[in-house]
């Protein structure tokens, strides 16, 4: 009901009430009796008059209220409505209503503000559209002018954007069609592989390198063919991150390299002819010439034979040289696409493929390191080799490991069974690799990496295939972090000092035990003064092998801020632990990962103290036996004063790749510990009990030293 109708109704109601009261009075007086008739008539007359007067007054009041208040309010309401919906700049005027002047002014001011806000919003939108339009124009120009084809896809490999050049390269007339699968035009494997490698590198499988915002920097080279296999492309893939640094899609840039590859092949051939191809001739020539010179008294018949060799070979060499020089002038140069590859990413790819596609169990072992090569063709090659070894030897399971050497990294495939004869191996290399683009053979992959492959005995009863590859050319970002001092040796050894383990486990040999080598990163050095764990990691060691693929690695919310001082050491920031579980949740998961294994850590007393303080809150008890590589190192090399992880890794010849990440340190400690076991055995320390006793004796000495 509008205010105006309400006022009208109220007044009408009042008038009806006055008439009703007057009528009732008149009736009740009349009913009292005839004797007072005169009085009655007078009262009736005055009463009616009074009632009429009241009604008139009410009518007047209504008229004033309606004209001066209700009608202008209604007009105002309509004006505001119109202004709000259509035009905020329309003047708000209330004809003949000074009484509402204040309201009118306030409404007018509000309307003005509204009009202003609308103008600003419209301006912003116009500006943003203009900028977007101009950026789009620029992007289109850039994409159009690019020599490379560009395609943007989401993680379902649906095409979201592409440029003209991409169509040309793919020999497409008309449009590619947005939302269509990339794999209708290109072959699938190289892209799945590149996405896998990039996501893995950005923390999917290896949370060992926290902190760096590397998604923007990480690209992966790939080679692909059109779906019909006629044209090969070479390109790079980059993931597209969202606000939370999670990949939402990828962009690929690529170019037609069929001609370049053909040229590359010719160049390689030519180079090989010009260098290795001439050795044979030069060799014959040199031998004949030197022999002639060294034996001047040789018989005439012999001498003539040598002279003929010198003559023939010299002529041959000259002819070859002319031909090579002519070919060289026609050549366009190029190079095979290779990149620095983290062995864990590469080998993970092999492990996953063989497990998922062929059901062959492969365990990645050892310390990961960086090498240089084309990861896609290497995965294809290793996949092929493992399958052939299984066919040949009947071996059911395999270890795969990257072993760093002098300027090179060996990829070793290890199985229980016989060595593969060189002749047999040579025959395998001619086979075409099934998943690879084009007709690529295993021999081609070796040639591109300028390497060889052989099989030899491994440890007792085991054999391996060894593939040497170049080590990564320079220090990679992950290991490039500044070297910082190790934490001070921790003198609260009570935690280790009193552990006694003389059960069946204690009598077992160190080599037969299952270990978890672990490490923590913390907010500081004083757990009893409020320092907390920010990362906890561990890796399993069984039968003398580091099971690189079986690792535990978690960032932990410390429930407090991370001081700059410790952030500089481990690179873990407050933002990185935001939303991560607390140690109360992580510790039980770690306990499940550890099971009954023996725990090993470097300076274990330090890490253990942090964990022990959280046992009650987490509702678990870590009562596993604990070995400390620091104390064992002190036992083995007590003349050495340095027992930092860096120092003993160097002493045991272990390469350090990623220090000061919990997983990185666990891996280094594991490698050190494995070598330590050998030396301990040589010193008569073969069982767990003996190792615990050796470490305890060192702990006693250090506690006593610390007391002085």
């Amino acid at each position: 009901m509008t205010p105006r109708a309400l006022i009208s109704l109220t007044f009408a109601g009042l008038m009806v009430a006055v008439v009703a009261v007057a009528g009732w009075l008149a009736w009740s007086i009349g009913a009292d009796g005839a004797p007072r008739q005169a009085v009655h008539e007078t009262a009736l007359l005055y009463g009616s008059g009074a009632a009429l007067a009241v009604i008139a007054l009410l009518g007047g009041a209504w008229a004033v209220l309606d004209r001066r208040l209700a009608a202008p309010l209604r007009m105002l309401a309509r004006d505001i409505e119109t202004a709000a919906r259509v035009n905020a700049e329309r003047e708000i005027a209330l004809a003949g209503s000074d009484h509402l002047a204040e309201l009118t002014t306030a409404v007018a001011a509000m309307m003005h503000e509204l009009a202003d806000a609308r103008r600003r919003a419209a301006d912003t939108v116009a500006e943003a559209s203009r900028r977007a339009e101009s950026e789009k124009g620029q992007l289109e120009t850039i994409l159009r002018d690019l020599h490379e084809g560009v395609i943007v896809c989401n993680l379902n490999h649906q095409v979201l954007l592409y440029n003209r050049r991409a169509l040309e390269l793919l020999h497409m007339t008309g449009e590619m069609g947005l939302g269509r699968s990339l794999f209708t035009v290109m072959n699938r494997q190289p892209f799945l592989h590149a996405v896998e490698i990039l996501t893995d590198r950005l923390g999917g499988g290896q949370p060992a390198e926290p902190g760096d915002d590397r998604m923007a920097d990480a690209t992966q080279p790939f080679m692909a063919t059109t779906a019909d296999g006629r044209t090969t492309f070479e390109g790079r893939m980059r993931l597209i991150p969202d606000a939370d640094s999670k990949a939402t899609g990828y962009v690929i840039t690529f170019e037609d390299n069929s001609r370049r590859l053909a040229a590359l092949g010719r160049r390689d051939h030519l180079l090989s002819e010009a260098t290795e191809g001439l050795r044979q001739r030069v060799s014959s020539l040199a031998a004949a010439a030197e022999t002639l010179e060294a034996f001047p008294a040789m018989a005439v018949g012999e001498r003539q034979a040598f002279e003929k060799v010198v003559f023939d070979e010299t002529r041959h060499l000259s002819q070859r040289l002319d031909a090579l020089a002519a070919e060289y002038r026609e050549l366009v140069t190029g190079s095979w696409p290779t990149a620095d590859v983290y062995s864990a990413n590469l080998l993970n790819g092999v492990v996953r493929r063989l497990r998922d596609d062929k059901g062959i169990p492969v365990v990645m072992t050892g310390l990961p390191c960086w090498l240089h090569g084309d990861s896609y063709t290497l995965v294809e090659l290793l996949d092929h080799l493992i399958e052939k070894v299984r066919e040949e030897t009947g071996a059911g399971e395999f270890d795969i490991e990257a072993v760093p050497g002098d300027n090179r990294v060996y990829l070793d495939i290890i199985w229980k069974g016989p060595v593969i004869p060189a002749g047999e191996l040579a025959a395998w290399l001619g086979a075409t690799l099934t998943g690879a683009w084009g007709a690529l053979t295993a021999r081609d992959v070796l040639e591109h990496h300028k390497t060889e492959l052989w099989s030899q005995a491994h440890r007792e009863g085991y054999a391996r295939l060894r593939l040497p590859l170049p080590a990564a050319a320079e220090a990679v970002p992950e290991s490039g972090r500044r070297r910082l001092p190790s934490r001070p040796e921790f003198y609260d050894f009570d935690l280790l000092r009193y552990q006694k383990y003389s059960g069946a486990l204690g009598r077992r040999s160190l080599k037969s035990l299952s270990f978890v080598i672990f490490d923590t990163e913390t907010t500081g050095l004083k757990p009893s003064e409020g320092d907390e764990i920010v990362a906890l990691a561990g890796v399993r060691v069984i039968n003398g092998r580091i099971l690189t693929g079986e690792s535990f690695s978690h960032l932990v919310h410390p429930g407090r801020n991370i001081p700059e001082k410790s952030r500089r050491i481990h690179g873990i920031t407050d933002e990185m632990v935001a939303g991560k579980p607390s140690i109360r949740e992580v510790l039980p998961a770690f306990k499940r990962f550890v099971g009954n294994s023996v725990l090993v850590a470097h300076n274990a007393a330090f890490d253990l103290k942090f964990l022990k303080l959280k046992e009650a809150a987490a509702g678990v008890v870590l009562d596993n036996p604990v070995l400390d590589t620091l104390l064992l190192s002190a036992y083995l090399h007590d003349h050495q004063t340095m027992h930092t992880l860096e120092a003993i890794a160097k002493r045991f010849g272990v390469d350090i790749e990623a220090r000061h990440t919990a997983l990185g340190d666990s891996l280094v400690t594991a490698a050190v510990f494995l070598r330590m076991i050998e030396v301990l055995e040589a010193r008569g320390i073969a069982t767990l009990d003996q190792a615990l006793a050796a470490a305890n004796s060192m702990a006693e000495i250090r506690v006593r030293q610390a007391e002085f």
């Binding site: 060799s283 031998a287 040598f306 004869p421 052989w454």
Partner: protein
């Protein structure tokens, strides 16, 4: 007793020099022209040293080397591999499969006889 050298090589021009040089150095010399012939020659009359070229027909030098090393009766046999390719990985492969030494072509004839003398003690 005169030491016995087996030259395994398929290139006649280099055989000429190798045969002559080995003979002049005072050793008994035989020549095999492919991998199978080489293994037959070893089985017939075990040589003290084999000069073994990698790129030979039928069974390559690596194969011959590994096969010889698989037989404990021939463990005293010294193997010097010869190759016309100079890659480090090839050298390493040869040594991994049991070669005692490795010479890249072209080589100096003086160096070859020196190495022969060294290895025969």
């Amino acid at each position: 007793m005169t030491k016995n050298v087996l030259v395994v090589e398929d290139e006649p021009n280099i055989i000429l020099s190798l045969e002559f040089l080995v003979k002049e150095a005072g050793y008994k010399v035989r020549v095999a022209r492919d991998g199978e012939e080489a293994l037959r020659a070893v089985a017939e009359d075990r040589p003290d040293v084999i000069l073994l070229d990698v790129m030979i027909p039928k069974r390559d030098g690596y194969d011959v080397c590994q096969t010889i090393r698989a037989n404990p009766a021939w463990k005293d046999l010294r193997i010097i591999m010869l190759t016309a390719r100079g890659r480090a990985a090839e050298r390493e492969k040869g040594l991994a499969l049991g070669a005692d030494d490795y010479i890249t072509k072209p080589f100096s004839t003086r160096e070859l006889t020196q190495r022969l003398k060294q290895i025969l003690g």
